[in-house]
């Protein structure tokens, strides 16, 4: 049986139809077992997750039903700080670092009742596109659809476990130059890389500050949208975060315009192109107007400019870890 979507799950939890403790215990058992082969997690926060679940369940019994993510298990990319859980950004350099605070996105998710189950595998500090470039002492996460292949990266563990799990779950990922969309696409799940500034990066172990975005990964579009809605918004701790409105409900896209850049499909694998075009048709059927646009300069110089900017910023950020 397919796992309930996040919204269905939360609604069942609120009605008392699902035991939050039982659900998270089963999911943790699955995660621990899978980790021997697939290495989705750099840390599994069993104790604190079960404790959180018990608190939520006790709350529900006395009528505390609030929270858009009530009881929903959430995994978090290793580079995003979770209080008291070893957060290493996939690097041995940060071994033993247990943050004393939650990143804003984690705090927001917890406030809505999410249960943090662990830190997901990634390329070391995010430097990679395939999760093959893990730090010394880390294992590469493997693709659940075919363990001989990689998960994509750098948010590989987040996308891999989201695809693997049979339970309701979503993941918080992070992208500098494709690290949410790439693994989501490799693992057949939905990744949402938001516009720069939509989501606070306070508590993120930065890669390149002018490019880093925190976003969501889910089994369905609605799962990813629900989580993104919770973690987005202005935060006085991140001066680059913007004031924004709620993403609202699923059907609010009607009448909106969606664009895709034609150059990006020129060297694209035919299967990928076909799948994208199929999704574009679906959008049109849902009431979007879709337009093909051209971004010739981006295609020609984008990657070179990206690497120049990102590595220059990364060298500044990493200097603090190398001291």
């Amino acid at each position: 049986m397919a796992a309930k979507t996040a919204r269905e799950f939360v609604s069942s939890v609120k009605k008392g139809h699902i035991s939050v403790v039982e659900h998270v215990e089963n999911l943790l058992e699955e995660a621990e077992k899978a980790n021997h082969q697939y290495h989705f997690f750099n840390a599994i926060a069993k104790e604190s997750a079960v404790k959180q679940a018990m608190e939520i369940e006790a709350g529900i019994k006395i009528g505390r039903h609030k929270g858009k993510l009530l009881g929903l298990p959430i995994s978090v990319k290793d580079c995003i700080c979770v209080k008291g859980i070893e957060s290493r950004a996939g690097s041995k350099i940060l071994s033993g670092y247990e943050p004393l605070f939650d990143a804003t996105v984690v705090e927001k998710a917890k406030k809505e009742g999410a249960i943090i189950i662990g830190k997901t595998a990634q390329d070391e500090f995010g430097f990679g596109t395939f999760s093959n470039n893990v730090g010394i002492g880390f294992e590469k996460p493997l693709n659940p659809l075919d363990p001989k292949r990689c998960c994509g990266g750098s948010s590989g563990g987040s996308a891999g476990f989201t695809s693997f799990t049979g339970f309701s779950h979503a993941s918080i990922g992070q992208s500098t130059g494709g690290s949410i969309a790439c693994p989501a696409s490799f693992c057949g799940v939905v990744g949402l890389t938001p516009t720069y500034g939509l989501v606070s990066r306070y508590g993120l172990i930065d890669y390149a500050n002018s490019l880093d975005k925190i976003g969501s990964i889910g089994k369905t579009v609605d799962d990813a949208a629900l989580l993104l809605d919770v973690i987005s918004g202005h935060d006085s701790n991140d001066s680059t975060s913007l004031k924004s409105e709620s993403l609202g409900k699923q059907d609010q896209g009607k009448g909106m315009k969606a664009c895709y850049a034609k150059e990006l499909f020129e060297k694209c694998d035919s299967h990928v192109k076909k799948a994208c075009m199929h999704s574009i048709e679906k959008l049109e059927k849902e009431g979007f107007s879709v337009e093909e646009i051209s971004l010739p300069l981006n295609t020609e110089y984008g990657i070179a400019a990206y690497y120049l900017i990102s590595t220059a910023e990364a060298s500044t950020n990493l200097a603090s870890s190398a001291e």
């Binding site: 670092y97 247990e98 004393l100 720069y196 500034g197 002018s210 006085s236 110089y301 120049l308």
Partner: protein
Amino acid sequence: MPKQSVDKKLLLRVAKNARLNLTEAEVEKFLPQLKEILKAFSKLDRVSVEKEKPSFQPIPLSNVIRKDSVEKSLTQEEALRNTKHKKDGYFLGPKAL
């Protein structure tokens, strides 16, 4: 941009700045990679940007100043928890004098 030739000497200088001790085998491995990366960047040399205004951030930034009021903060013990370099309740830094 002045031409910079990518050779072993440059690689070792960069490694020293990054506090990396590279083995001979690693130098052999990374030198062609470094050349390849800089070759990719050189594409940008062909673009004329003289008329463009420099930009530093994708969004307009303004100063954020919090209210001058007492907020809960870390205890001294908490603030020092993640470092090995501490003494008498303070961070222990390298000798300056």
